[in-house]
């Protein structure tokens, strides 16, 4: 790893994002907008449901959004030849992967902070644990989405295909993560699948923040599992970055 190359890659990825005003706008505006929608759906009749769903959503938005953005961005690197070009320079694969991770992690931090500010200040979201932990989990989720997006981009040839990976990768995790049906109430085989999916653990971690004032052992274990999944996805993604091709 090379600090100078890593730093300039982070700057480059953020610059690309910065030039795309509409994407920046959507990144910032969409999560608070959806949270507000949830608020009006649930708050009057079932405030506890709102609390639970809103908290979970703060972790799920960054995952979905960073998955999509990264898989398209990396696909573009592959199809426009910039990836091949980068691999002919002294840049290491690790510099590229960590460059993306850091840049999108930063973007996710900003996004999560704004979404949390809206949720806590205007929508009455309350958690026993600190908002800092919520933001930390959101960033971990964003980095997980990013890592899976990098990996998914290797299996797509067009942007149409890349977008299709979103329901494939995201929907099962969303359905089984405990948001719709508590994990304990699922059939055994569904629980087994849920236990194998990383989002299950980030949702559990968020639930812990909601319930307990101090970070619990379960929370750290969950974050550790998410981090482990990030590492596995990055290692696999790095194997798809080939210097020599046909």
């Amino acid at each position: 790893m090379n600090g100078k190359i890593l730093a300039s890659t982070v700057r480059r990825v953020l610059n690309q994002l910065r030039h795309d005003h509409r994407t920046v706008g959507l990144l910032v505006v969409v999560p608070p907008l959806l949270l507000t929608l949830l608020y009006y759906m649930y708050y009057e009749d079932s405030p506890l449901v709102f609390q639970r769903i809103a908290l979970t959503m703060l972790g799920i938005f960054p995952f979905i959004i960073m998955f999509l953005i990264t898989s398209i961005a990396m696909l573009r690197e592959r199809t426009t030849g910039t990836l091949e070009r980068l691999l002919t320079t002294p840049m290491g694969k690790v510099d590229l992967l960590f460059g993306y991770g850091t840049a999108f992690g930063l973007a996710a931090a900003i996004q999560a902070s704004i979404a949390c500010a809206v949720a806590y200040l205007f929508l009455g979201l309350q958690t026993q644990g600190s908002v800092g932990l919520v933001i930390l989990i959101a960033i971990a989720n964003a980095v997980l989405g990013m890592a899976l997006g990098l990996l998914a981009s290797a299996f797509a040839r067009t942007e149409f295909q890349a977008v299709q990976f979103m329901p494939l990768i995201v929907a099962p995790q969303l359905l089984l993560c405990g948001l719709f049906v508590a994990r304990e109430n699922m059939a055994g085989w569904l629980q087994a699948i849920a236990n194998a999916l990383p989002m299950t653990y980030s949702v559990e971690a968020l639930t812990e923040v909601g319930r307990y004032a101090e970070p619990t052992a379960t929370l750290w274990k969950d974050l550790g599992i998410v981090a482990g999944c990030v590492v596995v996805a990055l290692v696999l993604a790095s194997a798809t970055l080939r210097r020599r091709t046909d």
Partner: protein, 246 residues
């Protein structure tokens, strides 16, 4: 005329298969350091494939490619070999300057001032703050070239660097290539333009994946009994006559 300077590039019995077809059939050539070598041949004859093999991004079936005494694509060569791809591989959503500065940052000892100087040398100083996606085709090709030149490589592999440029710019670019060679840089340029071929020290002519000429331009015209390179190449391509040095 033969000297014993170690070649900058040495290709031996190179066989490359792309998809189902064999594209290069046991190609052998050497390229002396500090020279401009032109790579010519009909469309689809294998010019890009040979260049990719020299850069080390092409999977090779058999044979060896040695650059500056090391196997092509070695990590140590990545800071010394510059490759211009035929299709522009720059970030469309960055400005020209951001692109060149980014690629500059990947190399040791290349400053942002160097990046700005290169922009000047390809005639894009006035467009430095424009997004690449808003450039004309020829300007985009020059932005691509700037990103290659900025690393000040010892070996420069340029795949059709002057396509889409006007005569004045073409002349200026060729002066730069000649100046670089005079400083000791080994330049390999593919082209379809015969008056450019005349500015090379040596020419390689590929026909259907086989080398049919490897000589100085004047020797090639003399050997084919023609008066200009255009006629010489038509003759060599149509008859299959070969003009090889040594």
């Amino acid at each position: 005329m033969t000297t014993t300077v170690a070649p900058a590039i040495e290709v031996r019995d190179l066989v490359v298969r792309r998809g189902k077809r064999e594209v290069l059939h046991g190609l052998t050539c050497t390229i002396p350091p500090g020279s401009v070598t032109g790579l010519l041949g009909p469309s689809g004859s294998g010019k890009t494939t040979l260049m990719r093999s020299i850069v080390g991004v092409q999977k090779v079936e058999r044979g060896t490619v040695t650059v500056l005494g090391r196997p092509a694509g070695s990590a140590a060569l990545r800071s010394q070999v510059g490759y211009l791809t035929q299709a522009p591989s720059v970030y469309a959503d960055l400005t020209v300057r951001e692109n060149v500065r980014y690629f500059a940052s990947l190399y040791k000892g290349v400053s942002t001032a160097d990046a700005d100087a290169v922009l000047e040398s390809v005639g894009l100083a006035d467009h430095a703050t424009q997004l690449v996606r808003d450039l004309s085709g020829g300007q985009r090709a020059r932005a691509n070239l700037a990103c290659t030149l900025v690393s000040r490589p010892t070996v420069l592999i340029l795949d059709e660097p002057t396509v889409g440029q006007d005569p004045v710019l073409r002349d200026e670019l060729w002066r730069q290539f000649r100046a670089l060679a005079a400083e000791g840089v080994t330049v390999l340029v593919s082209s379809h333009v015969m008056d450019e071929a005349g500015r090379c020290d040596r020419l390689l002519l590929i026909r259907e994946g086989t080398l049919v000429a490897d000589e100085r331009p004047d020797v090639i015209t003399a050997a084919t009994g023609t008066t200009d390179l255009e006629a010489a190449f038509l003759h060599l391509i149509r008859t299959g006559q070969t003009v090889m040095s040594s």
